[in-house]
Symmetry: C2
């Protein structure tokens, strides 16, 4: 992939750690943030860690979105709709948007081991409703904990990808395979994202029970 | 475990194959069925395969339930509530009931890659509402395909167990560990069964996409 990957969102650990992984894999990465300065600082931190000449930069979210036709959305659910409304003019026809949002109940003060019901069926389907026509949505990367993304170890987790568009599915699969250890699993239609999103809440439950961080899942028998 | 395991349900493959696995592991198994004759035939088939002196028998569902304080429910969702109402007088206080029911939309003519919304939150919670007080409910064995249970190979799948009762959770874990390869994962409260049940629909989607049978899941990082 020679095109840039824009990772849009707030200030979460997952966004920076995906940026770290994809930069290390040779991708041209743009970190998006509400605040341009914070995005640039995050990009500089990664460059300082991996090599100052690497093609990683930071931009305000709308600018990052406009600068790329491959965007990954990692945002708390409570901010998802507002950010997508803001990004609306920045999207280009044919842009692939990979949504990693999980509608955890902690978004509204509830437990992170529970999810909210989303009218459209899933956070990813809400995204599909809110983006302009012609933006191609896939859901992926929900189940990979930022704890395991942080280092450089192989990641023992699959990325289950749900999409109604083959190009978006393919782009998400390529990005998944750039993270050592991760397999890209075709999880079917975008509507199935509701299950994949909920699995994250289950993994958080299991982390709480076992006092672990970063449990993940593998699909067996493929 | 010296007590008998009663596997209650209809005529599904999962019931017979769990019976096969647990009989092979040395458990005393009672196969339950609506029809006593069919239950006895199923038990005889397993005895013919594994050894005629093994303690496996067949009974009508209510008799099987009354004969054991450890029951496993593997029934199509459409039959779950009716069977539980029928079993009500047969349950004893302290009986452990392990529910493996998945509310697949195919129960009402829909797709097996989708689930129905259950008012209580999950099929397992519907079960908990329908059994007499004092029956201890756990949810488990949703994600283990009957295709992989059929042989004698090690099963590459975890059993995620959800329960509000430690004895029920423990009993389900012991049964899980009797199947070679299966790990028992503590999935938290019974309410989390809604996620574990839905994972089965996702696994069915993945089977359809990959033209496989019997994909499963593993929790990693524990």
């Amino acid at each position: 992939m020679s095109r840039a990957v824009a990772i849009l969102g707030g200030s979460g650990a997952q966004r920076k750690r995906l940026a770290l992984r994809w930069t290390r894999a040779g991708e041209k990465v743009i970190i998006g943030s509400r605040d341009r300065q914070r995005a640039q600082d995050a990009a500089r931190n990664i460059a300082a860690r991996l090599g100052p000449s690497l093609p990683i930069s930071g931009m305000e979210n709308s600018a990052a979105c406009a600068a790329s036709d491959l965007c990954v959305l990692t945002v708390p659910f409570a901010s998802q709709a507002d950010l997508l409304k803001q990004l609306k003019p920045a999207f280009r026809k044919g842009t692939v948007l990979i949504d990693a949002t999980v509608p955890l109940a902690s978004s509204v003060g509830g437990r992170s081991s529970r999810v909210l019901g989303v009218w459209q069926g899933s956070a990813a389907q809400q995204t599909a409703e809110l983006v302009p026509k012609g933006v191609l949505v896939a859901a992926a990367f929900h189940n990979i904990s930022s704890d395991v993304l942080g280092g450089d170890a192989s990641v023992d987790c699959d990325a289950i990808i749900c999409s109604d568009d083959d190009n978006a599915r393919q782009a998400a699969a390529e990005l998944a395979l750039k993270i050592p250890g991760v397999r890209a699993i075709d999880g079917g239609k975008l509507e199935n994202a509701r299950i994949v999103e909920q699995i994250t809440a289950l993994l958080i439950s299991i982390n709480l029970r076992y006092k672990t961080h970063g449990v993940g899942i593998r699909i067996t028998g493929i």
